[in-house]
């Protein structure tokens, strides 16, 4: 059976333009469904190890061919994006209802029905642009989708965010465009050097182009020093948007780095130690910052920075590391989307973000607390797909750096800190003497979607999904992953 994943990814795009015509419940159902279809197909395509291109049109030099790139990597990212987008779409309904009531109360909007129409358009457009990004076979096309996702997410923050949202929106806009412009410059240089931007036709990336793309992605990822925009944006965005921004969007920088690496790995190989040290510094620094936060969403935002440090680390660790990068993206997306939704559920039910006012919240919202537990387990790699991410990264460390104790210890410390802040946060927010609140009644849509993501996070460590994922990644890496053990086993296949 030929799976039509290349058509399915356009379903949400078409739906985007239908949503404003619908009432909020119908829109929620339609939006969720529109992501579930490509989700199922991308998973199927991943299981079947499919890899092919579908040409759209050819612009000739210097742009080259626009095509849809279907391979296990796109499918892994695509599946993650679809799953999270679908669940967050369902979750949006009760959450944004709450948000609009609040905004109506403050006279910031006039009519929630009208706002819902705007919201759904922007939300779906935002999510689908990221989905199309990972299936883009041309860096220009990819950049266009990147730009759409930036604009739509900017608007969502600007219109429905919290606190000083206009200021935060502009801050977000400026920073992400610094990243975008740097990357665009890199792509342009690449275009004029190679006379194409089609990923399959590119053979080499010059130093300057690599550097610009890398710097852009460092801002977007973000790396240490350029990271301050993220806690602002992700904390002040409306929570469903945070649940896409943080889990899905920033990690796409890792995806872009991965694609460029697969064309020409010279830059990363030359500066391996530097990038690794920077990744470790980012991760440890941000991990420590998490412990000082008092705002739940800001805390999660810092944890995102820490997790993105994993990506930079993974990038320097050869085939195992690259596979680790992709698994890490998935595990972070699963875990962090669950966690942002738990933060949102607490906002929607208690109007509460300050951790100091929480404590023993398990007493009032056990289902949310248990979901948060699975979210943090995913981040720290306990019994979830995160375990594979850690395993592959550690295997990469052992392969590339051997017994270089400083590197080994640093990476181990990075993982330890993730576990520390995860369970520390659990203790501070959900356990201990219960804060005095009424036990609330809330919509099932505020907790059920979290468990769907949690389900996938857990079953991805078992066959057949684990088997398919690792086989797929090996396939996308040109058999480099299997080569690691072939070398030691003397070419004898087990």
């Amino acid at each position: 059976m030929n799976v039509l994943i290349e058509l399915a990814i356009f379903i949400p795009l078409i739906v985007t333009f239908l949503l404003p015509a619908l009432r909020e419940k119908a829109a929620t159902a339609l939006s969720t469904t529109s992501f579930l279809i490509p989700m199922v197909l991308s998973l199927y395509s991943l299981l079947k190890l499919q890899s092919y291109n579908v040409s759209l049109f050819d612009f000739g030099p210097p742009i080259g061919e626009f095509y849809i790139l279907v391979d296990p990597v796109s499918n892994a990212f695509g599946f993650t994006i679809c799953l999270v987008s679908a669940m967050v779409a369902a979750y949006s309904l009760p959450y944004m209802r709450h948000r609009f009531v609040e905004m109506l109360h403050h006279k910031e909007i006039e009519n929630s029905e009208k706002e819902f129409k705007k919201y759904w358009f922007l939300y779906n457009f935002y999510a689908v642009s990221m989905l199309l990004l990972v299936y883009s076979g041309n860096f220009l096309l990819l950049y266009i989708f990147l730009e759409i996702s930036l604009l739509t997410s900017f608007l969502l923050i600007y219109l429905y965010g919290y606190g000083n949202r206009q200021w935060v929106g502009i801050l977000y806009f400026v920073w992400t465009h610094i990243a975008g412009v740097l990357a665009l410059l890199g792509f342009l240089i690449l275009a004029f050097e190679s006379q194409t931007l089609a990923i399959k036709d590119l053979r080499a990336v010059s130093f300057v182009a690599w550097l610009l793309i890398f710097l852009g992605m460092i801002v977007k990822l973000p790396g240490l020093g350029a990271h301050m925009w993220l806690p602002w944006a992700h904390a002040e965005a409306p929570t469903p948007v945070s649940a896409l921004l943080s889990p899905i969007m920033v990690g796409l920088a890792g995806y872009i780095l991965f694609r460029v690496y697969m064309i020409d790995s010279s830059f990363v190989l030359d500066f391996k130690n530097l990038i690794l040290a920077y990744g470790i510094a980012t991760s440890i620094y941000a991990g420590l910052s998490v412990l000082k936060q008092t705002d739940y969403k800001r805390l999660l935002a810092y944890s995102t920075v820490s997790q993105m440090g994993y990506m930079l680390i993974a990038l320097c660790l050869g085939a195992a590391g690259l596979a680790g990068l992709i698994v890490q993206y998935m595990s972070h997306a699963f875990g962090k989307s669950i966690l942002f939704m738990t933060a949102g559920a607490i906002i929607a039910t208690f109007n509460l973000r300050d951790i100091k006012k929480m404590g023993g919240m398990h007493e009032h919202i056990p289902t949310i607390a248990n979901a948060a537990l699975i979210g943090f387990m995913t981040l720290s790699g306990i019994l979830t797909i995160g375990m594979f991410g850690e395993f592959l990264i550690l295997a990469g460390v052992a392969k590339v750096y051997g017994f270089d104790l400083s590197v080994v210890l640093a990476v181990v410390v990075v993982f330890i800190i993730s576990g520390f802040y995860s369970f520390y946060t659990m203790k501070v927010i959900y356990y201990g003497r219960p804060a005095k609140y009424e036990k609330p009644k809330f919509s099932r849509l505020l907790d059920a979607p979290l468990y769907v993501i949690a389900f996938f996070s857990v079953i991805f460590i078992f066959p057949p999904l684990a088997t398919a994922l690792i086989n797929g990644l090996d396939f996308a890496l040109g058999g480099e992953l299997v080569k690691i053990i072939k070398e030691v086993l003397g070419g004898v296949r087990p």
Binding site: G360, P463, N471
Partner: protein, 636 residues
């Protein structure tokens, strides 16, 4: 086979899901309490499966070839679900499943009125499945899944009473403070302490697993060429790898300096302390060390790297054993005393297993059979402690002969378990302890008498505090009034548990197979009998004089101030670092989002000021400009 494995691992988990869901959706649904029985039934099925694996898989002997069963997982990377059924795993599996089932039965009564049954049973059963997975897996990645499951279940159950509202669940004297440190711990804090300590060990262990994979292309413990590995990575490489791997084992088995989490883990329900934090889970660390040694077979090739590691493990184990015994001797809390004694026993297991480098497989077998003996004895004592806490509403050692009269079975169980565990001839642990004396004695040429001396010292203190436990709870403790009610299921459970000790004794005495015939041989040596008499003397002494008030005792009871390491030194260090990072963030935030925009603002205002249309200003600026140019030109 696959059906048996499915029952073994999945029955406990699936049977606990209904109660978890029922209690997750509705708080304290009375109708769902009956679902506890379903959970215990799942444990029972698991026990049957483990018995099948014990009985029907051929000969059970230390020399038998292991049977393996593989299910594909990630065949491309040679990573599969590989289960191994050898001497160690078949016995350990039954031990785990049996104790889990008995404690499950006990829990039906002990936890009856709990406010969180869904959580309790889910994690209790998840623990059992994880432990069985750890026990039977040959593949280290699979083992690590079980391993993380253990850590998680332990965390979940330590912090079971997460509301921190019942001082009966605390550890330490509430309100007591030494310098800046609170010397009492709540369940939610104890949970965090446990998982964070374990994480420090687990991550180096995970690195070692990944490194084994990259270096050897396989993750199956029984297939790795351990001898060849040393040739490949050298002495230093082996020391790094095996030490990193053992970090996880030390942390989980609460060896120094990771031990303190186990003491505060006693905030969990007593059933949990009995099953996880004494009989099985903490023993997983020693068990994995045994399994590793079983297949490394270091006595066959005497690698240098391995020698360093085995010396480290030997002395770390002995030091932890002595530390644990001394702490237990100074401790007055029922469960914490038993926790410290567990740590001590685990140290002995590590130490005797480590002797295998010099004495061969017998070292592992001694450690293993001590593990089995200890599991039943300590589980009995914990279950009795739980019953006593229920009846006296006090977690400290209290009670005199009246308690013994009212709770006859508890008293008998305690007498039997303490006598059996101390190593008093001719009871159960005596035979294993004699074996232990023997293997430590055999190290005389390589390492001198130090190991043997440490062992005998530990054994004496050990026997002393066991007698103290008996005396302070049933004979010479503070008088308390109790009115026992119910408790039948609890009594049945610990009676079955301590009867197992006599079954073991029968096996030890009557069997002529390896390693029991070695135990006989050692047991009848005059030196072993002499040690036995010393141990008996310590027991009798402590029975008559269970408590000696002194500063030393207080110091021991405060665990030699080790909590300062966890709660003050490490915690403050982390706090300072995270405060620094916080300042860093504020600085970056200020620079990027305040200072730079402000500079633009100043520049813009300045420019705007100039564009005022006032001719006077323009002339002044022009003059100033000319003046500056002239000055510069002159200076040139």
């Amino acid at each position: 086979m696959i059906e048996v494995l499915a029952i073994l691992f999945l029955a406990p988990i699936f049977s606990s899901i209904p109660i978890a869901i029922a209690w997750g959706i509705e708080p304290r649904p009375r109708w769902a309490e009956k679902l506890s029985y379903l959970s215990v039934f799942g444990l029972f099925l698991s026990l049957l499966a483990s018995l099948y694996l014990l009985i029907y898989l051929g000969e059970l002997s230390p020399e038998a070839k292991p049977i393996k069963y593989t299910i594909e997982w990630i065949p491309a990377l040679n990573i599969n679900f590989v289960f191994i059924f050898d001497y160690l795993s078949r016995i350990m599996g039954v031990l785990t499943a049996l104790i889990a089932f008995l404690i499950g039965v006990y829990g039906l009564e002990y936890m009856r009125n709990d406010y969180r049954l869904g959580w309790y049973w889910f994690f209790f059963n998840l623990f059992t499945a994880s432990m069985l997975l750890t026990v039977y897996s040959d593949n280290m990645l699979l083992l690590f899944i079980g391993w993380e499951g253990l850590g998680l279940a332990s965390w979940g159950l330590i912090g079971h009473w997460f509301r921190d509202d019942d001082e009966l669940s605390y550890v330490g004297n509430v309100g007591r403070k030494i310098w800046k440190l609170n010397m009492f711990w709540t369940p939610s804090f104890a949970g965090w302490r446990a998982i964070s300590t374990i994480r420090i060990g687990d991550m180096p262990m995970f690195f070692a697993i990944a490194a084994f994979f990259v270096l050897t292309g396989t993750l199956n413990i029984s297939e790795i060429d351990w001898h060849g590995l040393e040739g490949k990575v050298g002495t230093v490489g082996i020391v790094i790898l095996i030490t990193a791997f053992s970090m996880g084992l030390f942390a989980k088995s609460a060896q120094l300096p990771f031990s303190d989490w186990l003491m505060t883990a006693m905030t969990g329900p007593t059933t949990v302390s009995a099953l996880l934090h004494s009989a099985t889970m903490v023993a997983a660390g020693t068990y994995i060390f045994m399994r590793l040694s079983w297949y490394i077979e270091p006595w066959k090739f005497h690698g240098h790297g391995y020698e360093y590691v085995y010396i480290l493990v030997l002395f770390l184990g002995l030091a932890s054993a002595l530390y644990g015994a001394l702490v237990a001797a100074g401790c007055l809390e029922r469960k914490v005393l038993l926790a410290a004694s567990t740590m001590s026993s685990l140290g002995l297991m590590f130490a005797s297993t480590a002797t295998c480098y010099w004495v061969g497989k017998i070292g592992i077998l001694v450690g293993f059979w001590y593990l089995v003996t200890h599991a039943f004895a300590k589980a009995t004592l914990f279950l009795v402690a739980g019953h006593l806490i229920h009846e006296t509403h006090d977690r400290f050692c209290v009670g005199d002969f009246e308690v013994a009269k009212h709770l006859k079975l508890a008293f008998i169980a305690t007498v039997a378990a303490t006598l059996s565990l101390s190593g008093i001839p001719p009871l159960t642990a005596y035979w294993v302890k004699s074996g232990m004396d023997g293997v430590m004695h055999a190290l005389e040429h390589e390492l001198g008498y130090l190991p043997l001396v440490l062992l005998i010292l530990t054994s004496m203190v050990y026997s002393g505090f066991l007698a103290k436990f008996l005396s302070l709870n049933f004979i010479k403790g503070k008088h308390v009034h109790i009115h026992p009610h119910g408790g039948k299921l609890m009594e049945i459970s610990y009676t079955a548990m301590f009867l197992m000790l006599f079954l073991l004794l029968a096996i030890y005495i009557t069997s002529y197979e390896k390693p029991f015939k070695e135990f006989h041989h050692e047991g009848f040596l005059p030196s072993s009998i002499a040690v036995g008499i010393l141990v008996l003397a310590a027991y009798i002494f402590a029975l008559y004089k269970p408590q000696i008030k002194s500063k030393v005792g207080e110091f021991l009871g405060d665990r030699m101030y080790l909590p300062f390491l966890n709660d003050l030194i490490v915690a403050k260090f982390g706090w300072v670092l995270s405060t620094l990072s916080d300042y860093g963030n504020r600085f970056i935030d200020f620079m990027c989002h305040k200072a730079v925009p402000k500079l633009f603002e100043i520049y813009s205002n300045g420019t705007r000021m100039i564009q005022s249309g006032n001719i006077n200003t323009y002339i002044k600026i022009a003059v100033a400009f000319v003046f500056i140019v002239v000055l510069i030109a002159a200076g040139w």
